[in-house]
């Protein structure tokens, strides 16, 4: 017994502060959030204990998931995430591939591609709001004006003001900001592959393309998975970029995070908590399989 304490005690003691903090501020609050989401705490009166609340179990969830407005938000979220992921992965990968070949000024390009990530979403959102101005024809500005100047008038569109696909316009700044980051991930992946492998491939008579296709790309799968998870969970939680380009009340660009904000500011704490839990579940659907997989690999 004492031996066991001596063996487990010090590490446990060392871990205790973070265990307690994570327990309270992550899992405790997730629990509190869930507990709130199954009540009928929908007004300032109930939130402050003037009127009683009761447990309604999953009624808030079913009402939310049935409402056309929330479905619209979920569809927007899916559209946004799919396009954001594809965009950053494809562009980031191509950039990394180009930079992988020894070219002059690699450091310069690397910084140029990576810089947008240093800008906060709020700041870039303000600029992109001007660029994505939906006026067409005479009073146009931003990208629409650019299209006119270069004679591509037919490309003018109303950007994020389209009610079905408007949300995709917001993926443009998102992709612009994070492609460089994905590039850095892939570039690190390329550089991590020992030269011997390429040489071995070449010795066996593989063409340059075949070396990439059969030797290098397969080894980038773990990188790709990490990029997928990182960009994916950022996309599911995206709020700031949408808020600064559009406005919370604009129906065309609603996502669950915006709904949560609006519910909270109209004192509807139960629905805000329910939306939070739904978001958490969606993010977990992406992250948990990844954690399980890495856990298995480490063993």
């Amino acid at each position: 017994m004492t031996q066991r304490i001596r063996r487990l005690g010090p590490p446990l003691l060392l871990l205790a502060p973070s265990l307690v903090l994570v327990g309270v501020f992550v899992y405790g609050l997730i629990g509190a959030n869930f507990a709130k989401s199954v009540t009928d705490d929908h007004s300032a009166a109930t939130a402050n204990g003037v009127e009683p609340t009761s447990v309604v179990w999953f009624q808030n969830y079913t009402t939310l998931l049935k409402s056309e407005e929330f479905q619209h938000s979920l569809i927007n979220l899916v559209l946004f995430t799919v396009v954001f992921l594809l965009g950053t992965l494809v562009i980031g990968f191509v950039w990394a591939w180009l930079l992988d070949k020894p070219i002059r000024g690699e450091g310069f390009f690397r910084s140029v591609y990576l810089f947008p990530m240093a800008v906060s979403f709020i700041a870039s959102g303000v600029v992109w709001r001007w660029l994505l101005n939906s006026t067409q024809g005479e009073g146009a500005s931003g990208l629409n004006r650019l299209f006119q100047m270069v004679g591509l008038d037919f490309l003018q569109n109303n950007w994020w003001n389209n009610v079905t696909f408007g949300i995709l316009a917001i993926t443009i700044p998102a992709i612009w900001q994070l492609s460089g980051y994905v590039m850095a991930l892939f570039l690190a992946g390329f550089r991590g592959i020992p030269d011997e492998l390429r040489e071995a491939g070449r010795m066996d008579g593989a063409s340059e393309w075949q070396v990439y296709r059969h030797v290098l790309f397969p080894q980038l799968t773990p990188i790709m998975l990490s990029a997928l998870i990182i960009i994916g969970h950022m996309s599911l939680k995206s709020f700031d970029l949408i808020m600064s380009i559009s406005k919370p009340a604009n129906y065309q660009t609603k996502v669950p995070a915006v709904d949560m904000y609006l519910a909270k500011s109209s004192f509807d704490y139960a629905n805000a908590a329910a939306i939070g839990t739904i978001l958490l579940v969606i993010v977990a659907l992406v992250i948990v399989p990844y954690l399980v997989k890495t856990n298995r690999q480490e063993k």
Partner: protein, 432 residues
Amino acid sequence: MRVNRRVAATVASAAVLGLSLTACSSDDSDGSDGGSASAGAGDASEVEVFTWWAAGSEKAGLDALVNVFNDQHADTKFVNGAVAGGAGSAAKDLLQSRLQTNDPPDTFQAHAGAELQDYIDAGQIQDVSNLYDEFGLKEAFPKDLLDRLTVDGKIYSIPSNIHRANVVWANPTVLKDAGLDPSATYDSMDDWFTALDAVKKSGKTALSVATTWTQVNLLETVLISDLGADGYSGLWDGSTDWAGSDVTDALTDFQKLMSYTNTDRDGLDWPDATQQIIDGTAGFNVMGDWAEAAFEEADKKAPADYVYFPVPGTDGVFDFLADSFTLPVGAPHPGGAKNWLETVGSAEGQEAFNKAKGSIPARTDADTSDFSDYQQTAIESFGKDTIVSSLAHGAAAPVATLNAITDATSKFTTGASDLATYQSDLAAAVKG
């Protein structure tokens, strides 16, 4: 290391100094204004005034009000609790959490009327009717306004200023180019449509509008125009049926008005829409009378550079909204808050504040001879018109209802719902 220690010592001594100073000040003026019964008795050493007046004409107004306050209540120290950002939304979010954790400011700014309902339901603000009696405000404010402020026989805030939301602003040059008479006013929506068609034909934006809340502002003026003042007020007390055919007609008019507007509206806020009138790229705009300040800043003079008139069909109706101050339950310095409320309600306070902010006093006896031309017309209308509560600015409906109406309106104007769905969404929003 030595530098660190010196910094730490400085910080510590500053903190000690601060503590002893606050101790002194609360000793000095303890109970100077206390003693009177119920609301507003107690510590008057200082008052933390929580507002979102942090910039522009709003800050100028607050500064002017503070000057009067310092004259009237030299013993009470004014602490500015202004929070900037998001047209008040940042302040409201912070206030929400402060009230919930029982850490209220001594008094906070809120739109007068139904927007207070949540605070009332939550038991977070006090009835200040006795202060109305004490300060003689019931005689000074118009009766229509008092009726709008009273909830179950109680009044929960003291208005500092009045704005009017049903005003059309227009550019006379654009109107002339479209073959219209700039001095004309219009009796009904149908008359106005003819004029809007003319502007549209001349190639300009006929009606400029901005993001969703300005569209809700437009909607409420259409509802007033088509339903009349009583019909409109009935929408909020249940005596007018949201599903009725007269509401359908009003929404049809609203839909038609939206067809005259600029397509980039959802990305703009009200100053951008007003700017289109100033620049002459749009003919008409519907906005509350704070737009007047934007014209003045651009050095424009009425009626040469811009004209204004009540929204067609709403002449004789004053669509009001007001900023007001409250007395939170558990305020740390209730005596200070009472002093602040006295200044807010006083004739001198209202004159100074409103002259600087560009709004009009809620008191009908304030001396307004040196106010601007627009303010004079608004003061005249306020004195004789029927007063109704603005929806977009929290006077007519609680926050949750307004948010639901805003959502339904955004859904409709972006084309995600048709008129029938819009009408049923609105009915559902008001039912809650």
